[in-house]
Symmetry: D3
Subunit: 254 residues, 6 copies
């Protein structure tokens, strides 16, 4: 049985919602992820992690379905995703993204759904997703919504294993070891390890400057070296994230 | 070589845009399509037809790429898609949809793209897509945008073959012979022919009434019987649509 | 007794609303209608048909009043009204039109009105009127709203009589036989039959192109020849439309 | 030759715009005006004064056309028009009114028009009209726009004659002597002098209170007694306003 | 005990709101006020008058707190504040100002506050503040809001004393005797009487023209001579306004 | 000479802008900061740090002025500022905040200003300030804008000194040692050290939940103990931040 809402008829969806199923809404982006990862990396990963979580939730007695991802996200920030200067990065204005989250939550509420998990894979979406949730809940305060970035559920022991020289922190993990490993796990055919650049990690000042200064971002868009990535690491990170989301939902999204 | 923008790195995308590639933007919906077709029928078909068209365009010397579909569309109308009362139908407010089209076109323009084809699969999107295009072109009048509903390219001879008793017109072709055949062609695993209902075709008055009257729409959401659908018909319709779009782009989107 | 809301004092309006009167809201445009019809053709016809319908409704025991028309409508489409390139065509952005419909319905609700008929005379308004109605009903679900294009009530026998060579369909009926006949019936002083152009009917492809290609639209703005128009035909069409609207309201807008 | 844009074909409009015609845009309201004046008083007067001004401008060598009035205006204020509590008063949200003014000016600019006169008849519209003009001029700084309330052109000697006991000021002139006289001049069939109430003038505090206190506004909506109104006074006031607008346009809207 | 909300912890604020305190919200501007008064004159005065009123209200048994002023206001009008051409005048679009008033009132309602006084010091804010209040009350009709311009409470006897040659009216009182006197009373260190210009009073036509004509506004931004200003006059005006506001609140904002 | 724009006449402002002065725009909030700090803590600190930075910039040859702070900010997040449940926390919708930043930058551009520093003191504002800057730069790409959170310039050695037991990170520094110390340095009269609560530090999960769970946030709103705060620490932190901002502006905002 599929957990993807887009792949099931409305009759099945209704049955599952009526029985109390949770809906997971993946938020992604269309954003450069270096010369080795595809532009859709974020929404592909958000969907993959959400689908795994839905399967595991069902296995643990709480049915779940995954709504179609928001493929387009908010504007890329230089220190998070390389910034808006890369061709291919295709981003929405704040109001458009906020409106999408608000509208979809309003519709899920109309269907009878009361428990929603917003699974974000693109940092820049965070504040706007929050606003969309808040606007939907202003109309429908009965909605209960969990919002998260999936990678935050990676266990410290996993990070130790993935980064034997020490985890440098999430700040520069764009198109780097974690995302590359996850893509090698979930979508290996879309990864071109031969294209991995050799650029060093970016170093960002604490301020933002608009327009962004020349040379601020590594020219190929990888914010820190992705050399150590492999599918096994991706599998391990994915397992942590999926289990972490499932635990959180079962424990806290009552 | 993939034609899906989401599956290629930015470096490939840039190269192709710089060489003049067209971008196709599929517009879909998350909408009930009867008990035998999935909720994502519209965006799945818009993407499939667009991808075929992109491949054929490339084969005829005009490179093309397919942007991620807008999976969510405008609110379902009773006489077009059964209306908003079906659980699972998940729709956007006008401004949200308009904003998405405007924002994505603005971004494609920033990338250097000047020729865009908006491939719509959900009637209700039509006017709002137009507004989004108009707002984007108000900012960037150099953009040239073709907008179409894919099924309009089906040849009369194909309609004769698909509907041996005479084509009743597009008005009630929701979750009916055409869409079911196309899904059997493109995504057979997502079609459940055993679930096909036996309800007669809907008959709509010339006015709209809000709220929609009870009994106006067939209870399972199929607006006219889909019994005659098969994959071969889907293949033939798809071939017409794809070739028609390709011809239009080559001839008119200069 | 007038049926035009603009021509009555509030005291009369209140009395009639309190007694259950229906309100008709005409939607028009300021749009080129060829060299022989005035720019206000759409809102003049919408108002005229609405006023006739209100009179007939009152005569059949259901009081009705006509709110001032929205004189300005959505942007003209080439294949519906010649497109935005004609000087004189004066159109609103989507949000402005949506807002007007929403605001006026909200106000009618505040007055105590619960039954509204939106009488549209400009195809391009259709989707945006729907959104305005939907937004008003989101706030005030007690509102019951009928939405229609008046010409859809023309009887087949009338079309046979008006088009002795066969009715070519509504698609090209812009500034053509139907609208010219109706204007000769309702506002003959504003019609200049001597100015009727001799251009052949337009032929549109199934796609839209922005910007619109040169030569797509007949240079004078008449989408199909209006030669056969006369006031008697206008009277007959008007009679059908008025009676059709009245029947629909009495039967279905309960 | 008509000066009403709605009554002329686009071909005539284009000719006149190309020759430098000014466009007057009347702003009105649908608002209670006591039991003796119709709800449309404001937009009827704004249109009548604008049409007279257009004729006089043409007679003095400066062609002018009158665009269809904005029939609906901003929300009625208690001390200006009795407030929103009267059934029949039908008002727009700020953004809707702003958008209409902005959109129409943008369109007039597209037509080639560069000189516009916004003729307001409803105080509450003033600030929002200004914003609409400002937003249109942000896009099209070449536009030159004169904005006015027509009554401000009434000569002091006329006020002396109209108010033999002394002009009490414009503040309470709602549905009172000036508007009643003007309607008796322009639209006598719509005035019911027999319905004139005998309520004394309103007395407003300097603050606004929301919701408005009971008894703040005279129960029939006339803010000061209209007893002295007659058509001759209306003619004299109209003559002043029309001539004043014409002089201002000829002298200052270059 | 402070009456400024910004200077108290939430615990104190909650206690006072729970006990029924009124909140005053000052609306100001950042706008030229001649070469002798600072750009913040409006929001400084609105805050000072509000704080005095809050103290006096507390002394008369009705606790009151002053929310942080909206420092930025709507666009300056030539005849009210010199217009937008002066560097330093820093103004908001209508929707931004409307949104601020709406949002803050919504939040005060959430806190449990039901009585609010909007103390305006910048004429141009008036209509937009009204809209903000209306939108907040559409959501929360229990809110009772008084809206005022503080100077309207100046007693006629005070005006006689302040203007021994006769009060010329409020129309040109921008950066003139009243505001200068009030600033000498409340913020003498920010007034530079030596910089007072000698320009005569402005004389405005009854129409607005956009763009504003050269020479319409006195070059230094003072709309009528401020020579007679002094701190004693400021104290007297302030005393009237504060007492007037307090009386209005005690009597009418129940 | 003052560096606060609100305290200077437009003539001085113009002179300084014409000579190339930078404008600093402080962004704050009205938000609970525990029982010992006032609701205005954020905008008070943002203004104080900005004023110090402006003075130091002037001393180093680059004139600078501080625009009035945006006193109200975006909605409080539980893990950043305790969330929206505290009375007194008074927050704006996303669009309102975005609009303010956009409008003010647009106006500064009109004044001739080309270099702006947005000094943020409330984490939740970050993304919306970015959008406001982006929308302003879409209109005026010549604008160069630096955006920062002031505390990020605190030197590691200062953190070592302020937190002798080790700096626990910025995450829980709300109403805690850093802000309390800064308020003791800048506004000691507004701090009530006797009211300091004894609650332990908050511990937040990696997900957000709406509505926020009971007990998630310490009941008095202090996210980690503020016991060690003193004015000397505040002075040291302030000195770092001010110098850091000044260095960044001189080096990078060219």
């Amino acid at each position: 049985m599929s957990h993807l809402m887009a792949e099931m008829p409305w009759t099945q969806y209704r049955r599952r919602i009526d029985a109390g199923a949770v809906v997971l809404l993946p938020l992604g982006s269309v954003e450069q992820h270096g010369p080795h990862l595809p532009l859709g990396t974020d929404h592909l990963l958000a969907t993959a992690v959400s689908a795994d979580a839905a399967r595991m939730l069902a296995g643990r007695g709480r049915d779940a379905m995954v709504a179609p991802a928001l493929a387009y996200g908010y504007k890329s920030q230089p220190h998070m995703g390389g910034g808006q200067a890369f061709p291919g990065t295709t981003s929405l204005d704040a109001m458009t993204l906020i409106g999408q989250v608000r509208d979809i939550l309003r519709e899920l509420h109309r269907h009878g759904c009361r428990r929603i998990v917003v699974v974000n894979s693109h940092c820049e979406n965070q504040a706007f997703a929050w606003e969309g949730i808040d606007l939907a809940r202003r109309e429908h305060p009965q909605l209960r919504v969990m919002r998260l970035e999936y990678w935050d559920f990676t266990a410290p022991s996993t990070l130790d294993a993935v980064f034997p020289d020490g985890f440098p922190g999430w700040a520069l993990e764009h198109a780097a070891v974690v995302e590359t490993s996850l893509m090698l796990h979930y979508h290996p055919a879309l990864v071109d390890m031969a294209a991995l650049p050799d650029e060093p990690a970016a170093a960002f000042p604490v301020w933002d400057l608009c327009p962004q200064p020349d040379g601020l971002v590594p020219s190929q868009g990888v914010l820190s070296p992705a050399r150590g990535a492999d599918a096994a690491k991706g599998a391990r990170i994915a397992a942590d994230c999926v289990a972490g989301i499932v635990d959180a939902v079962l424990r806290d999204l009552r």
